[in-house]
Structures are given as structure tokens and as C-alpha cells.
């Protein structure tokens, strides 16, 4: 099992948000997590990435053979975990290229691989930006500064393409995207992450991204627990019935 979450409880500012999430994602699969606002979807994403302030009070998470919760955020990233942010953060004064190059080389060093040369990195960045329909010139700008909502989400996917993670947690990557961008981003996720040795946890509110990235399993999160799991058809049911029915 690539990612195995067992009975995960977590609190934010001492308020319980996750109340016993259990979930297993094998390599080669895409799992979607759907659920209403406030059900704990983003909290789950942040707990997996190790955001400070998100306290695990019970349960465990194993990423392959490793205890994920014992690792620092940067160690999780170096081990191959990628979080696509719902609200990507702006960093004025630091260019996208510098940010990505330092990040990628930090990962490669941690894995005992050689750093990429400047030219190799630029080639990779250009390739990924082009594949996701992002103007390469934007990579010269400060990280996410002045990017529209949709550009920020594309930028997250360009980052994912450059980092080449083995497990991606994508937190509402579809929000803020128009229909063309949705198609491009969906194709990007498939291209980067659809592989026998990779897996994705796709957090979304709506069915529409799942038209482009077909999930192997769909889980419904409600009040901090997974209340239903099923195949891709479950997403369609939810679209028709709404979450209240599904959680009942």
C-alpha cells in the first residue's frame, strides 16, 4: 500500500476536525475525496503535508514503509509527497525559477541524486510550463505574485511536473479554473501522475474535475470521517443527490 491512513484524529486550535479517518491508496490509483465545506478535506491534506498547527491526536499514517507523521514537512516532500495547495502562497521577491530550482535540488540532494545544472533545470521548467499552457515568462516573476486564481493552480501543476512526486495530494486544484484550464490541468495530472508507481489523492468539491481525471475510488468525507466509499459512479450519485443524502 502506498499510503495507509488509520483512524486519524486531528485538531486545529484544539477543535477536533478529523474524527477517525481510515483510507488506503495503493500505487497506480487515483482516489477522490469529496465532501461538503467544513467536512475536513483541507485539514486532511494539511495533516498529510505536516502543516504546523494541525495536531494529530490519534491514529497513524504510513507512506510506503515510513511513518509519515514522524517526518518534517520538507522530509515528506523529499520522500516524494506533493501537496497542491488550494490557495497557493505568494512569495514576493523570490522568482518562481529560483524557488523551484532550489526546491528540486533540495529534493535531489535528500535522495542522494546529483543536482540539475542551470541549463538542465531551465529545459525541464520550460517543458513543464509549456505542457500546462503556462507562459514560460511567468516563471521569471515572483512566486505566485500577481497570478490570477487559475494561473496559481496551473503554477501548482507546473511545480508538480518539475518535482515529479510519487504521491500527490491535490486540494481543490479545480477551484478557480475555467473549463479550458480544467481540461489542461486534468490532462496534466494524468500525464504527471498516472503511472504504476504513483498515486493521487484528489480532494474536490465537484464532479467536474473527475470527468478529466477518472478516479479508481471515491470517498465521501463528512464531519471528519469517511462515510461512504465506492467506484467512480459514486461521484455521479453525489452530483445528483447532494452530500446530505450520501452522508445519511
Amino acid at each position: 500500500m502506498m499510503l495507509k491512513i488509520d483512524n486519524l484524529h486531528a485538531t486545529v486550535a484544539e477543535k477536533p476536525i478529523l474524527n477517525g479517518v481510515s483510507l488506503a491508496v495503493p500505487a497506480g490509483e487515483v482516489h477522490a475525496i469529496m465532501g461538503p465545506n467544513g467536512s475536513g478535506k483541507s485539514t486532511l491534506a494539511y495533516v498529510l503535508a505536516g502543516r504546523p498547527g494541525y495536531e494529530v491526536s490519534e491514529g497513524s499514517v504510513r507512506f510506503e514503509a515510513r511513518d509519515l507523521l514522524a517526518m518534517e514537512p520538507h522530509e515528506r516532500a523529499a520522500a516524494g509527497l506533493f501537496l497542491g495547495f488550494q490557495y497557493p502562497v505568494e512569495i514576493p521577491g523570490v522568482s518562481m525559477l529560483q524557488f523551484l530550482r532550489e526546491s528540486l535540488n533540495a529534493q535531489r540532494r535528500a535522495r542522494g541524486e546529483d543536482e540539475l545544472s542551470g541549463a538542465e533545470f531551465i529545459r525541464l521548467a520550460r517543458e513543464q510550463a509549456t505542457a500546462l499552457g503556462m507562459d514560460v515568462e511567468m516563471l521569471k516573476r515572483s512566486v505566485n505574485v500577481g497570478f490570477s486564481g487559475g494561473e496559481k493552480k496551473r503554477s501548482e501543476m507546473v511545480q508538480m511536473g518539475i518535482m515529479g512526486p510519487r504521491f500527490a495530494v491535490l486540494d481543490e486544484t479545480d477551484s478557480g479554473l475555467d473549463i479550458d484550464a480544467l481540461r489542461t490541468v486534468g490532462a496534466g495530472i494524468n500525464r504527471i501522475m498516472r503511472a504504476p508507481d504513483k498515486a493521487v489523492l484528489l480532494i474536490t468539491h465537484y464532479q467536474r474535475l473527475l470527468d478529466y481525471v477518472k478516479p479508481d475510488k471515491v470517498h465521501v468525507l463528512s464531519r471528519g470521517k469517511i462515510v461512504r466509499s465506492g467506484g467512480p459512479e459514486l461521484a455521479h450519485e453525489l452530483e445528483l443527490e447532494g452530500y446530505a443524502e450520501a452522508a445519511a
Binding site: R51, H74, A77, L100, E102
Partner: protein, 245 residues
């Protein structure tokens, strides 16, 4: 004839390390003088040396339509002071891009007095401080606008980041305006590194120290984008940031 030794009762010496200053005062009592002739322009990059105590006092006189741009970095390990008096004649233009970067118990200050004597003068002062340990960083900047200096356009932007609880920043833009048709803007802020930015960088595999150093570079390095032959000042700033991140 040397000027009397300063006291802390004088505003511009209020945060100074007078003990560190005492042994070198004789050489410093008269500020270095730079005159820029009408229509001429000067650009200088002031990189720090390696002494524990480094004090620079400069008096800059800008003639009609003269321009001066100063790029400065203040990183002395014990006490660093950059003191700059400027006078601007008609249509003169002055820009300062400076930073205090220090940790440990260093005391770093940038003290300016910019006097607009002529009309349509323009001054821009941008100062950033990054302070760790128990370091103290100070910017005292006075802008004086004389009665006849109409259409003066003066700006001061001062920001400081504190990395540790014991660090301290003093930011004091000060205006004394006697003309009635002028633009004088100033802004000052003191804060700490943004937790969201740090987590974002760490989620991309940067260890905490590298992530902090990168964010600090973003905060400071833009100061010297236009510095002529700016590599040395940028390299020294980067090294100073890495040392305290």
C-alpha cells in the same frame, strides 16, 4: 578642529554604541564630503568590510539637477553605522537603498538627514532590516523641506523583520516641512517571517533554514537590483542572511 563627541541625548545618536565609537571618533568627527556638480550623477555601492566596528559618515551635496544613488549594506559584527546627510538643490534627485543585516548582539544603524533646499527635488529612501539573536537595527531618517522647496517629492519606506524574540528594530521616519506644495510619503513596518510562506517553501522540500534564507532574500535582495557591479553587495548580503536564517 574636531566636533564634540556625541551624546545619546542627540536624537541622531540615540541608539548608537558610543563606547564602540569612542576609540575611532577622531577620524570620523568630520564626515566625508561628496559634492555632485549641477547636472552630474553619482552612483556608489557601499559594501561592508570585516571590522567589528564600522562607521561611515558622509555629507552629500547635490547641485542643480544632480543625481545620486547610494546602495549600502550594513553588517558589522559589533557596531555598524551609516550616517548620511544630503542636501538637494533645484531638481536634484537622491536615492538610497540600504539594509541592516545582523545577528548576535550587533547594533546596526542607518541614520539619514535629507534636506530639500531647492524646488522639485526628489528623494527616495528604501531601508530593510533583518535582525536575529539580540541584534538591534535602527533607521532614523529625517526629511527637511525648506520654505522655498516647492514641489518636493520625498519618500521613505522602512521595513524590518525580526527572526528571534530578543531582536529589536527602531524605525523612525521624520518629516519637517516648511513648504506647502510638496509630496512626502513614509511607511514603516516591523514583522516576522510569514508562517504560510515558510510552510509553502517547506512543502516543496526546503529545510527550515534554507526556506527562511530564501524568504529573507526575497525581502531584501531587490534593493540592489540596479546597483552597478552589484554582485559583491548581493553576495555579502546573501551570506549575511544565511548566517542568521
Amino acid at each position: 578642529m574636531s566636533a564634540p563627541f556625541p551624546t545619546r541625548k542627540q536624537e541622531q545618536w540615540r541608539y548608537a554604541d558610543l563606547e564602540a565609537l569612542q576609540p575611532i571618533w577622531e577620524q570620523l568627527a568630520e564626515p566625508e564630503s561628496i559634492a555632485v556638480l549641477p547636472g552630474q550623477s553619482v552612483e556608489q555601492v557601499w559594501v561592508p568590510g570585516t571590522d567589528e566596528v564600522q562607521v561611515r559618515r558622509v555629507q552629500l551635496v547635490l547641485g542643480e539637477g544632480a543625481k545620486a544613488r547610494i546602495f549600502a549594506l550594513n553588517t558589522a559584527a559589533h557596531y555598524g553605522r551609516i550616517e548620511l546627510g544630503v542636501t538637494l538643490a533645484d531638481d536634484a534627485d537622491f536615492e538610497l537603498f540600504g539594509a541592516n543585516i545582523g545577528g548576535g548582539s550587533s547594533n546596526l544603524e542607518i541614520v539619514t538627514n535629507v534636506r530639500h533646499d531647492g524646488q522639485r527635488g526628489r528623494s527616495r529612501q528604501t531601508v530593510r532590516s533583518v535582525l536575529g539573536g539580540k541584534a538591534v537595527g535602527t533607521y532614523l531618517g529625517k526629511v527637511e523641506v525648506a520654505r522655498d522647496a516647492q514641489k518636493t517629492d520625498a519618500e521613505q519606506s522602512v521595513k524590518a523583520l525580526l527572526l528571534d524574540r530578543g531582536a529589536m528594530a527602531n524605525c523612525k521616519p521624520e518629516l519637517e516641512i516648511f513648504a506647502d506644495d510638496v509630496k512626502c510619503a513614509h511607511g514603516a513596518s516591523v514583522g516576522e517571517l510569514d508562517a504560510d510562506q515558510l510552510f509553502y517553501a517547506m512543502s516543496r522540500a526546503l529545510d527550515p533554514a534554507t526556506a527562511r534564507a530564501l524568504l529573507l532574500e526575497g525581502f531584501v535582495m531587490g534593493l540592489w537590483d540596479d546597483a552597478p557591479a552589484g554582485e559583491p553587495i548581493r553576495d555579502l548580503a546573501r551570506a549575511a542572511l544565511r548566517a542568521i536564517a
